[in-house]
């Protein structure tokens, strides 16, 4: 594995320009002052209640995601490349979804094999021929980006279902501004605080035709025990919309209403943070207590907009991911600005053979997994783990893809023994409304706090950082 690119001290240890002020400030700031502010930040997070739940861990039902006070900094120039690439990618994702559920040109052009779509459990036949307002399927996308050198950003994963983490982007900034006003004064950091406004206007712009002039938007959560519940309540609050659960909604004559103290009130747009499977027990899982019976029929009647649309999983599926460069070219006729990680599709015998031969070098992921669960990181795994994985892979090759272990870039991070480089990724949030795609400058930087670790997921011991885009 190549030596990782450090975003502060580039190759050869030369200080990169975006970090010039930070480096100066770090030299002036005594280490215990940093430690003190770190503790203060933790206290603030606790009091605000920014917690997440770890599934399968009864001891710590609510946990804090560790927050690293050293910001990650990017120049305006770096950001502008990323921004263009992200917009391009999300436009292609939306066009792909529209096509898959309608004309299927891309299948007829033999770019993606049919069975990868039709035999995919996240493909939703219910969406065939169903039109959605303004042809927007993915209103909110979280695209996971890693960096391998000064010039190349690579897409690790597209999240087109219910991506989370944006509350951390916003709260991290709030806390940094409170704790480090002096550091802010020395930089021109592009603000992220418009995100809630942009999100609300994107959601309102896709209201169904039958909605009133002032459409009613609500955020649907699985409830207080969901791991991202804090984010749901945070966003509903910032947007000034009701935070509803399935039991607050009722469908009558194919219209959706919420139960209020003044009787039933019509809802036009639902920003849902509930997975497809649980949306409507009449259509999907009959045992779902989180959903609303009849919601899908109101959806089919065109009386409610769901954001993101039902069936978007087919676009961020890890098997489809490997085709994204071709997808971008096919719909937009442009070269993709953001690269993909080279991916071996284990469903293809040639690729499988290669993967089986090189397991100790590769990262193998479940096609339908998320959150860092159920993956194999070859270089870090024991022999026994690798062998166990090999069996799994042979039994069900179509369930997996493999990628080389990337040398993710590093950023300076507070550790028990002072500042040290740690691997990071970035999840910017891309919003699509009726006629525009927007991104606030920044995103959620996740950092693997363990030395050498490449897993940034919060469920696996990752932390977060504030992400600064310098406005030059």
């Amino acid at each position: 594995m190549a030596v990782a690119f450090d975003e502060m001290n580039g190759p050869g240890g030369d200080l990169r320009p975006a970090y010039r002020e930070l480096s100066r400030w770090l030299k002036e700031t005594p280490p215990d002052a940093l430690e003190y502010r770190r503790q203060e930040a933790e206290l603030l997070f606790r009091r605000i209640g920014i917690t997440f739940a770890v599934y399968g861990d009864a001891e710590a039902q609510e946990r804090l995601i560790p927050f690293d006070v050293i910001p990650r900094i990017m120049s305006a120039k770096e950001w502008s490349v990323l921004e263009k690439g992200l917009k391009q990618r999300v436009r292609a994702l939306n066009m792909f979804l529209r096509d898959i559920y309608h004309g299927r040109d891309i299948l007829r052009a033999n770019i993606i094999p049919d069975d990868l779509i039709f035999q995919n459990p996240v493909f939703r036949p219910e969406m065939n021929g169903q039109s959605v307002p303004h042809d927007v399927y993915v209103h909110i996308a979280g695209i996971d980006i890693v960096r391998v050198d000064a010039d190349n950003f690579i897409v690790l994963e597209d999240n087109a279902r219910t991506p989370s983490g944006v509350s951390y982007m916003l709260e991290n900034r709030e806390i940094m501004m409170r704790l480090f006003p002096d550091l802010f004064a020395r930089h021109r950091v592009a603000p992220v605080e418009r995100y809630p406004d942009e999100l609300l206007s994107a959601l309102r712009s896709v209201a169904p035709l039958s909605a009133a002039a002032e459409p009613t938007v609500a955020l649907m959560t699985p409830g207080v025990y969901n791991s991202a519940y804090y984010e749901h309540s945070f966003l509903a609050d910032k947007l000034g919309i009701e935070l509803v659960e399935g039991r607050d909604l009722i469908v009558k004559n194919d219209e959706v209403f919420m139960r209020t103290t003044e009787g039933l009130k019509r809802v036009d747009v639902i920003y849902r943070r509930v997975d497809d499977d649980f949306l409507d027990p009449l259509t999907f899982r009959p045992d779902s207590a989180l959903g609303v019976p009849g919601l899908m029929s109101a959806y089919a009647a065109g009386n409610i907009t769901l954001a993101n649309a039902v069936g978007t999983g087919i676009a961020d599926d890890k098997a489809i991911y490997s085709y994204m460069p071709e997808v971008v070219k096919f719909y937009l006729g442009e070269e993709p600005i953001l690269k993909n990680v080279p991916t071996w599709r284990c469903r293809e015998p040639k690729d499988l053979a290669y993967v089986l031969d090189n397991l100790s070098e590769l990262v193998v992921k479940e096609v339908h997994g998320s959150g860092g669960y159920g993956m194999l990181i070859g270089p870090a795994a024991t022999k026994a783990t690798i062998e166990a994985f090999r069996d799994k892979l042979k039994r069900e090759p179509e369930g997996f893809i493999a990628q080389p272990t990337l040398a993710l870039s590093t950023c300076p991070t507070c550790t028990a023994s002072g500042l040290a480089p740690r691997h990071v990724d970035l999840r910017p949030f891309v919003l699509t409304g009726s006629n525009h795609v927007t991104i606030v400058p920044g995103g959620l930087t996740r950092v693997a706090l363990k030395e050498g670790s490449l897993v940034v997921n919060s469920s696996q011991g990752g932390g977060t950082k504030d992400t600064w885009i310098l406005d030059e």
Binding site: I48, D248, R259
Partner: protein
């Protein structure tokens, strides 16, 4: 607003108020039991603390006898007592989490900090009277902070009114329960009226509704049982009196009615109870039986809770 949000706000306020009330009950009982037996007689004050908290029956399923240690444990920390202070604060936090969008950050901070302190400082209960006193102060201060931050930071809209409905309904219930358990020491025909025994019982009652000083300001007299009853039942100026709770309930329900442009059974029922309190005199109440009066009030109050739930919360 969402019915579920209103319901959560209503219960949040009830749980916080209940936690404070239980804390006050323990506090008052500690004081009275610290007195030499000659002053308080042979009654088991811990037993009556259980009764005023309304958990006597379930207590005896878990403990053989009502000793200080058992009762404090059960009322303050027991996970199996749904009304224990610990459970009240936990339920309050759970309700707060469900309605964060309807709370101001100050209110959330109060409940969340209390919940954190409950785990970190009071996770193992208390091991001395001194610690217990600190714990009880913590609970009362939490309630004061919560109440104060609601009062000072919430918009005056239905969210505020539903939260106040919960507070006053719970408060009325609590005051009525004390009266229900202790009414016999307030009866004027008791033989030993004015003896030291009653005196400490009376101060204990007043203390548990934080009305000891108020009594002296209102009546400028030594403690008289019928005046204590008058203060707790009919005096509109005492925030924990039944009359005051109902003035507030009627007002908050009217505000909701005006905002929604519709009155209903809840408004009518609350007004009925308020009117009865307004037109009663202590003499009549004593003549017809304090016990019956209080029992009827408790039933009426519970009925109002049911009507509010049906009209707005489901």
């Amino acid at each position: 607003m969402l019915s579920r949000t209103a319901e959560n706000l209503y219960w949040l306020a009830r749980y916080v108020e209940r936690a404070e009330y239980i804390a006050r009950t323990i506090d008052a009982t500690l004081r009275v039991t610290a007195l030499p037996a000659a002053y308080i007689g042979k009654t088991n004050e811990w037993e009556s603390a259980l009764l005023t908290a309304g958990v006597s029956a379930s207590f005896y399923e878990a403990y053989p006898e009502a000793t200080e240690q058992n009762v404090v444990e059960y009322l303050a920390f027991s996970p199996s007592n749904p009304s224990s202070i610990k459970n009240c604060i936990e339920a309050a936090r759970l309700n707060s989490r469900s309605v964060r969008t309807a709370l101001t950050s100050e209110m959330w901070d109060t409940i969340n900090s209390a919940w954190i302190e409950l785990q970190e400082v009071w996770g193992k209960g208390t091991s001395s009277r001194e610690e217990l006193a600190r714990f009880l102060r913590f609970v009362q201060e939490t309630s004061l902070r919560f109440d104060g931050s609601a009062y000072r930071t919430m918009l005056r809209n239905d969210a505020y009114w539903f939260s106040r409905l919960g507070l006053h309904l719970e408060r009325a219930d609590n005051t009525a329960r004390i009266l229900d358990v202790k009414y016999h020491v307030l009866l004027p025909e008791e033989e030993h009226v004015g003896g030291p025994l009653d005196y400490y019982q009376w101060t204990s009652i007043l203390r548990s509704v934080s009305a000891l000083t108020a009594y002296h300001w209102v009546y400028r007299e030594t403690l008289k049982p019928w005046l204590i009853a008058d203060l707790l039942i009919l005096n509109d100026t005492l925030p924990r009196s039944l009359a005051s709770c109902y003035s507030n309930l009627v007002r908050n329900l009217d505000q909701i009615g005006v905002a929604y442009g519709r009155q209903g059974a809840a408004q009518r029922h609350a007004r009925g109870v308020r009117n009865r309190l307004e037109h009663s005199h202590m003499d009549d109440i004593f003549q017809h039986g304090v016990h019956e009066f209080i029992q009827e009030f408790i039933a009426d109050n519970a009925r109002l809770g049911e009507i509010i739930t049906k009209q707005y919360l489901i």
